[in-house]
């Protein structure tokens, strides 16, 4: 029976079961009728590039919008490659939404510039607002956070992850009214300043639904103990300061109360830590599925190893490289359910102490058959190790390897790492995200183009020999959405060969490559659906330089292009040229 014979409400009800953005997008393209039904029933929208559409058009299409996710700056902004005021301002979005009749309930932002004014406007404009998640954002202070706390009467989630927040110590936490009892998730680990501990205790005491609590560094251990007494139902805990004398009474109380917290599945923080106190945590380790110790440099390799030995059900582990290869061996033999591993460098610029090498990775690959997501910072890698990993693990969805020396060859054979990465892409057919490092030639890109058929995001640095490298990728990776390249010898020929390809992608970033201004201009002219931006920060615009700067042969320092439905953005700073 043809679905078109169903009344709209029935079709809509069917669509309710289709939750993924991709699927809903596909559904909306089937026919006009489905487009209409879908757009009125759509509640959650994800916009991967805030400049690809305007808030007005969003509001026009989805009047029932409740949850909006926006991403601003390109990924390489995370590594200081994009100036702070490049863009990604959320204010226009909030302003437009506030003016409309949209009943916004949830806002999730990543790499956007958020001002206190935006937060205040947000807090006052949407009476049902429930959830604010800010990841790697900047531009606001604790005053903005206070506005959210004070005005969002039904706030359930306030989740601040790794934001640069200016701390005014204005007692934002005390701004939660006594009537606010709806909190489910509170994460303020990234805030640096003091908070009123008594207010925090009272807030937790009146939040019976609180499931996730991540504290910042200033919350001491005795407050932690009191909080856990009030909230033994926590599922996700982020510990701030974890320092005390193990023989103290407070510590004994903490040990006792932790035993009661048998719902905790996710543990993070330990921003300050006394290793001798870690034993109190062991009782909850048995049930942990997520452990994040990547911000706990106070724990040495053996502390980490001892802890991990208790975590048999771990699925995700984020850890510092001081765990060492041996420690990773312990992880491999203990954590058989491990799906995601992230190993961060404790001292990124210290080449002396090779904390983890290819050995650790091989051990993990051998011991953890469910591994599908990896971020691994190490000092060296060999082709043999990567080939072994590829044999052991064929389920990778994300594989990000960062060798700290960006062009380091295989130390055993002195060969580039082409074969190793080639093996990874060949055996991991579901690979969606890949980051390369080490010494690499065009050959690795040939492999990627041939085998990485599901690849959506690729990050390349200091790799390749010629335009061929980039062309292999552009031609071979049909599902590619984001490509970011820095310091590679890819130039105009590669950039211009298949201009239509960029309409199938979200964005392309190229910095310190061999792309000329002329080529960028050509691309911008031929492809009106793309915004081609040149970031040119040289402030020494003397007259000769000005002339030079319009010479088409000039090598472009940073180019960012993205598809868009709305043409050039109006908020670009001076040094960003919109071609």
């Amino acid at each position: 029976m043809n679905m078109n014979y169903f009344p709209d409400e029935v079709v809509e009800h069917v669509f309710d079961f289709i939750t993924s953005h991709k699927d809903r997008n596909s559904v909306s393209l089937v026919c006009k009728s489905w487009y209409k039904i879908e757009r009125y029933s759509r509640q959650r929208v994800f916009i991967g590039n805030c400049y690809s559409i305007t808030p007005q058009r969003l509001i026009a299409r989805f009047p029932g919008l409740k949850s909006l996710t926006l991403k601003g700056k390109p990924h390489f902004a995370d590594f200081n490659l994009v100036p702070h005021d490049w863009g990604g301002f959320v204010y226009p979005w909030i302003k437009a939404l506030a003016k409309s009749r949209i009943g916004l309930e949830e806002l999730r932002l990543k790499r956007m510039v958020v001002s206190d004014d935006s937060l205040e406007l947000l807090s006052k404009s949407f009476p049902n607002f429930k959830s604010l998640v800010l990841v790697s954002c900047e531009g606001f202070t604790t005053d903005g956070v206070a506005a959210i706390a004070a005005n969002c009467r039904f706030l359930r989630e306030l989740d601040l992850q790794e934001n640069e927040v200016e701390d005014h110590r204005g007692h934002w936490l005390s701004c939660f009214p006594e009537s606010c009892t709806s909190l489910v998730s509170l994460n303020f680990a990234c805030l640096k300043g003091e908070i009123n501990l008594a207010s925090l205790e009272r807030l937790v005491a009146r939040s019976p639904n609180l499931k996730s609590l991540r504290l910042n560094r200033v919350v001491p251990l005795d407050t932690l103990q009191k909080l856990l007494m009030r909230a033994p139902q926590l599922v996700d805990l982020g510990i701030g300061s974890y320092v005390d004398d193990p023989s103290s009474e407070v510590f004994s109380k903490l040990k006792a109360v932790i035993q009661l917290c048998n719902s905790i599945r996710s543990l993070s923080g330990f921003l300050e830590v006394a290793p001798c106190c870690m034993s109190a945590i062991y009782p909850i380790c048995e049930n942990l599925t997520f452990l994040n110790l990547s911000y706990a440099p106070g724990l040495q390799g053996n502390d980490l190893t001892k802890l991990v030995q208790h975590c048999r059900k771990l699925q995700r582990l984020w850890i510092l490289d001081c765990i060492g290869d041996k420690g990773l061996g312990v992880v491999a033999s203990t954590c058989k359910e491990l799906q995601e591993l992230r190993v961060f460098p404790s001292d990124p610029f210290d080449a002396e102490n090779a904390a983890v090498t290819e050995e650790g990775l091989v051990l993990i690959s051998a011991g953890c058959p469910k591994l599908n997501s990896l971020l691994y910072f190490c000092h060296q890698m060999t082709n043999a190790a990567l080939i072994t990993v590829a044999k052991n693990c064929t389920n990778f969805i994300r594989f990000r390897l960062c060798i700290l020396d960006p062009v380091k060859a295989d130390p055993v054979t002195n060969q580039p790492l082409d074969e190793g990465f080639g093996a990874i892409v060949r055996s991991n057919k579901s690979l969606k995200r890949l980051s390369l490092s080490g010494l690499l030639t065009d050959q690795v890109f040939l492999y990627i183009g041939m085998y990485a058929k599901k690849l959506e995001m690729l990050s390349i640095a200091f790799a390749g020999d010629s335009n061929k490298g980039m062309l292999y990728v552009l031609n071979g990776c049909k599902k590619l959405r984001k490509l970011e390249i820095r310091d590679c010898p890819f130039g105009d020929v590669a950039l211009l060969q298949d201009m239509g390809k960029y309409e199938t992608m979200r964005s392309l970033w190229m910095s310190s490559c061999e792309v000329t201004l002329g080529a960028c201009k050509t691309l911008a002219k031929k492809m009106p659906s793309l915004n081609v931006e040149i970031i040119n920060e040289s402030e020494k615009l003397e007259s000769e330089q000005l002339e030079l700067s319009f010479d088409d042969r000039l090598l472009v320092d940073k180019m960012y292009l993205y598809r868009t439905l709305v043409g050039d953005r109006k908020d670009a700073p001076e040094y960003v040229w919109l071609l």
Binding site: F76, D78, F79, N80, P83, H84, S136, N163, C190, R217, P220, V243, D245, L271, E272, V273, A274, P275, C276, S294, Y295, P297, G298, N302, L320, F344, P345, S346, P348, F349, D350, A351, E352, F377, C402, L404, D405, P406, V407, K408, A409, S435, L439, S459, A461, F462, R486, D487, C488, P489, S511, S512, C513, E514, E537, S538, E539, L554, L555, D557
Partner: protein, 376 residues
């Protein structure tokens, strides 16, 4: 003229290639050409001419004592070392320590550009300025002409090299960024720099010497938030670990051959003697094999005297790493100052501590009981 310079050059190279500057003994006795502690880095003399140029250029750049960052550009471009003589020479120990402690945090990493770009007046590598300055100070006293001649010879060659000294403290890149965002933006690499780094890197690879110490903006790809937080946490943990309150000064103690390290709170001792006794107790089991469970009175006496020989005699010396990352012999400075500057302790075999050993032996011979005593 040349021999001291070469020795200096060697040491600067080793300091560049390893984050801890393990070069100079700061005992006020003038520049010593020492190859410390089996650092394989000194074999980095084989590093390419590029690196040595780099080192000398930085050596020169750092050669103006008392210079703050704004002056770097002039010292850099013109090497107007005439200034060298004009600047007041710092008294060695206390102010150096003071300066280093404040500047350490401002050390920058990751600016991928040629040295010619330092015109931007960005305060880079401040920490290094003061570190190197300590010995440049000596050098300046002895021969102010030599850096200049070296500099003129080498400097132009560096302009193509986009390599910056490695730094010892993580999170530094990010911390600078926070302080001076505008300046950081100006320092972004340009296209030419990018390719020339690549060329440098490639050429280094073809000559077999990897540019392992090259640091560029945005590499390694870690969020500044993370590096900043880690740096802050490390600092706090050094002070707070194990005991609440700001008073404790915990430092790691390692001993060559021991399977694990210990930590001591320096504030619980008031003299070097107390520290040395504590260390003896802690590490006796390593020097003597199994102890404790089978100890008898007789064995204890035996172990004590043997340990004394071991620690006070010529077999082991106690060294510490100070705020600058230099390895020093314990006992030279007043106890209070030692607590302030000591970051880590290491008990090493005298045979490993070349350069330190003679003095240790001398001292122990001169003063059997009070090896670590300071002028009292």
């Amino acid at each position: 003229m040349s021999p001291p310079l070469l020795g200096v050059e060697e040491e600067v190279q080793s300091s560049v290639s390893s984050p801890s500057v393990e070069c100079i003994s700061e005992n006020g006795m003038g520049l010593k050409e020492r190859n410390y502690l089996g650092l394989s880095d000194c074999s980095s003399v084989d590093s390419s001419g590029v690196s040595s140029n780099l080192n000398l250029a930085t050596e020169l750049r750092l050669g103006l004592p008392g210079s703050q960052s704004p002056e770097r550009e002039t010292e850099f471009c013109l090497l107007n070392l005439g200034k060298l003589d004009e600047k007041p020479l710092f008294p060695l120990l206390p102010s150096k320590d003071g300066i280093c402690s404040s500047s350490q945090k401002n050390v920058v990493t990751g600016n991928k550009r040629g040295f010619s770009d330092t015109m931007d007046g960005f305060s880079e590598v401040k920490g290094y300025v003061y570190t190197e300055k300590s010995w440049m100070f000596h050098e300046a006293g002895s021969d102010s002409e030599s850096p200049q001649s070296v500099g003129h010879g080498k400097y132009p060659g560096n302009s193509g090299v986009n390599v910056i000294l490695s730094t010892r403290s993580p999170g530094v890149q990010a911390s600078v960024k926070q302080d001076e965002p505008a300046n950081v933006l100006q320092e972004q690499p340009r296209a030419t720099n990018g390719t020339s780094l690549k060329q440098t890197v490639i050429s280094n690879n073809t000559t077999g010497a990897p540019a392992a110490k090259a640091q560029v903006v945005g590499w390694p790809p870690i969020r500044p938030f993370r590096t900043k937080t880690l740096a802050a946490s490390s600092k706090n943990n050094d002070e707070v670990d194990g005991k609440p309150g700001p008073g404790a000064v915990f430092v790691k103690v390692s001993m060559d051959g021991a399977p694990y390290l210990r930590k001591v709170d320096l504030r619980t001792y008031s003299t070097y003697q107390e520290l040395s006794s504590a260390l003896e107790k802690m590490f006796s089991c390593f020097t003597l094999g199994q102890c404790g469970s089978h100890g008898t009175a007789g064995k204890e006496i035996l172990s004590e005297s043997r340990l004394k020989d071991l620690l006070h005699g010529s077999e082991y010396v106690v060294t510490y790493k100070d705020k600058d990352g230099d390895w020093m012999l314990v006992g030279d400075v007043p106890w209070e100052m030692f607590i302030e500057t000591c970051k880590r302790l290491k008990i090493m075999k005298s045979s490993d501590a070349i350069g330190l050993a003679p003095r240790a032996v001398e001292k122990s011979k001169a003063n059997n009981k009070k090896e670590f005593g300071y002028g009292c």
